[in-house]
């Protein structure tokens, strides 16, 4: 029997590990809950109707088809049994010789999981479609609403967390309101929509230099995003968010404020960090289990300064390649090398033609930062066909401000709204179902 490597997760890290293991004489099983690999950095574009799900996702089977020793298994991993070298799925189990955990993270509500229903996050394609549905339905509901206060609540969008996802979401929603749907409604002006970006820390995009971070904030404010720094969310309901200075009525709240490891991490019984991520050794293996590796967002990789590597696609990709080498080295009886991250820099975008990029001593902002962002994201987008389609969609959107994927799909196309001609606005029943 060939050495069997089980890879859990088909994101950047897991997919790269499986492909890098392709040339070696091992048998690989790549397990994912979904049948597709997702280009997560562009997920906010699906949530804001700029791109279709198919543009940023590719079937995993297709991406590993050239490697006949890689098998793909759709499945939900529930538990890892380190002692017996077994992975338990919802519908079966897998025996491994080496295990690569690349299961990623999910959004964290800092001990308030009950907020999730009213403030969904953005990690999966289904999350993105749900956010898209809520954002587009908010405008539809505003059109059906006669009471000015309740209409204003439908036209207020709160994004919690000013990391890259939160900043990108806020910028894109503002553009959607101010340009894309500007002429689509008859009873209100979509340009009056309010986008509020709430951040507990002192600046947006805190991973960047203060200078770039300030420029990003200025870009957001040019897009009329109301940026509230040093502001903590105290409560979230279907009616809005409670902030230190009072209650902000808002029917659409999005969560981009933090991540935590999935419950799977706890089942290993090894040491975790504060976010629940698994602490790894310099060669990415789990202490005491040289045959088990953790990569990508799920790994807590210590840096000399006491911090850990951030959850970025380049980190996951490099770790995926490294872990394949380590597995092959161990199998061949060679010593394993420690992982070293080659920092290629970071970048983010703030709406149309404005972005920031930081790499080594290089600092880019504005149009140049945006072009750098565009180039890198197009080049790394998985699948040549997707690259062409996305380029076309963007070029189109650039010239027309149109968005190709403005569809409200899902099981609740028409949520209950207060009746158009309700005589007593205050007596109308509140609808919580849209946020259910």
């Amino acid at each position: 029997m060939a050495h069997h490597v089980v890879v859990v997760g088909g994101g950047f890290g897991g997919l790269e590990a499986a492909r890098a293991l392709g040339p070696f004489s091992v048998q690989v099983t790549l397990v994912d809950r979904q049948n597709y690999h997702l280009f997560q950095p562009l997920l906010y574009q699906v949530a804001t109707a700029g791109l279709s799900p198919g543009d940023i996702a590719s079937p995993i089977r297709n991406l590993v088809a050239e490697h006949s020793n890689v098998e793909v298994r759709m499945g939900d991993v529930q538990r890892v049994d380190l002692a017996n070298k077994r992975v338990h799925l919802a519908d079966g189990e897998l025996q491994y010789d080496s295990l690569v955990l690349a299961a990623g993270v999910r959004h964290s509500y800092f001990g308030k999981p009950e907020w999730e229903g009213d403030a969904p996050g953005l990690k999966t394609l289904d999350d993105a479609l749900e956010l898209r549905r809520r954002v587009l339905m908010a405008f539809e509901n505003a059109e059906r609403e006669d009471d000015p206060q309740r209409r204003a609540a439908w036209l207020t969008f709160v994004v919690v967390g000013a990391g890259p996802t939160g900043v990108e979401l806020a910028g894109a929603i503002s553009e959607l309101a101010r340009f894309t749907v500007a002429n689509d409604f008859r009873r209100f002006d979509p340009r009056t929509a309010k986008i509020v970006l709430v951040e507990a820390g002192p600046r947006v995009l805190s991973a960047f230099d203060t200078g770039l971070s300030g420029k990003a904030r200025a870009s957001l404010e040019r897009l009329q995003v109301d940026v509230r720094l040093m502001t903590r969310v105290l409560d979230v309901t279907s009616e809005g968010v409670k902030l230190p200075d009072g209650f902000l009525p808002a029917r659409t709240v999005m969560w981009a404020a933090g991540v935590e490891a999935p419950p799977l991490a706890k089942t290993l019984g090894v040491e975790l960090d504060r976010a629940g991520r698994i602490k790894v050794q310099p060669d990415l293996s789990v202490p005491g289990h040289p045959e088990v590796y953790v990569i990508g967002d799920l790994a807590s990789f210590p840096l000399p300064d006491g911090s850990t590597l951030p959850g970025l696609a380049p980190v996951a990709l490099q770790q995926g390649r490294h872990v394949a080498e380590v597995i092959e080295a161990r199998r061949a009886g060679r010593p394993t090398a420690p992982f070293e991250y080659v920092d290629k820099g970071i970048m983010a975008t703030v709406g149309r033609a404005s972005g920031i990029a930081q790499a080594g001593a290089l600092r880019l902002s504005g149009m140049l930062g945006w072009l750098a962002w565009l180039f890198i994201h197009i080049v790394f987008l998985i699948g040549f066909r997707n690259r062409l389609v996305v380029m076309f969609q963007w070029a189109w959107a650039w010239f027309t401000y149109g968005r190709g994927a403005r569809l409200i799909t899902g099981t609740t196309p028409v949520p209950p709204a207060s009746p158009r001609r309700a005589p007593e606005p205050s007596a109308a029943p509140e609808s919580a179902e849209l946020h259910g």
Copy 2:
């Protein structure tokens, strides 16, 4: 107050009526359950992963934005009150001076509505995404299944009804299995998949000449579709279909066998035909109610030979334009003209590079029929951007046999399957949930 026209339904007929009313001095409210207009003739392409939802749908608001007298209202029409000229929505009501009903039809199970869960139809975008999920999941489940008989049931796809939708679905699924995913699985050869097209009548595509119909059948058989004519479905379960010659195990069954009017039609209290469609006068109005019109699939328009006009996009489009003229004429006190359908012909496609078209004395088949089909569908696809994207997707698929939208989305990504290592196949519990 301007004359208020309420148009129910944003399909081909309703959208065309609203746009044709745009230049007149009337106030129009276009009501639809969805926020988008759907190019239904290509819906089967979404169901078989060739196109993304965004490629064949456009926001209704956008399509009528140039007409400031047209208002769009998302809403679910439940009942029409002819006496009081009122349309009741799930969340309000609308008063009309003229009413245009263009609500379309849904699939009919001939008195067996309980079959719908196991044999869903294809009328909406959500239907298409559900079919896509089932078709792609069937291959995933086949890969997880060790028992040859149960695997064969996952690899058997039954399409009920050999009209255009059924024929297009069967052809596209066969191509998906034989080309697109041919190298994606390790435990079975997708080319062994069986596609069975069941038709109660004596031939496929019976709206066409016998000659063209025969050619379509030959094309299907070249694609290895098992065409069973004069075969009635006696029962549908989650395990397969009961046919006159025995039970056919198949975990994926699709319904394309007939249509019926939605319950809305009954609420008018006027005469309906056998399919529940509303019988209309020569000017498309409802007998006794010259201010109420029915167009498109929902209308039963009598022809001199005793038959009725078929449910086709060109019929709906021409009726939409006609009804706008009739409403304007009546408002101006001019006599109304009877509707006359200008038959532009019919066409259908059977997989890659094979189609049939029939117009007047013209008969096209094979590559030529397919090119005619392609040209017409691209030209009439609503939205210039969509035309370009769809053309690109098709050109890409043509050269690579790839399909860009092979994503399994939805709320049940991993259905329960029988455990991989089940020792007793016959003792494993049957999973009905996938079809729930």
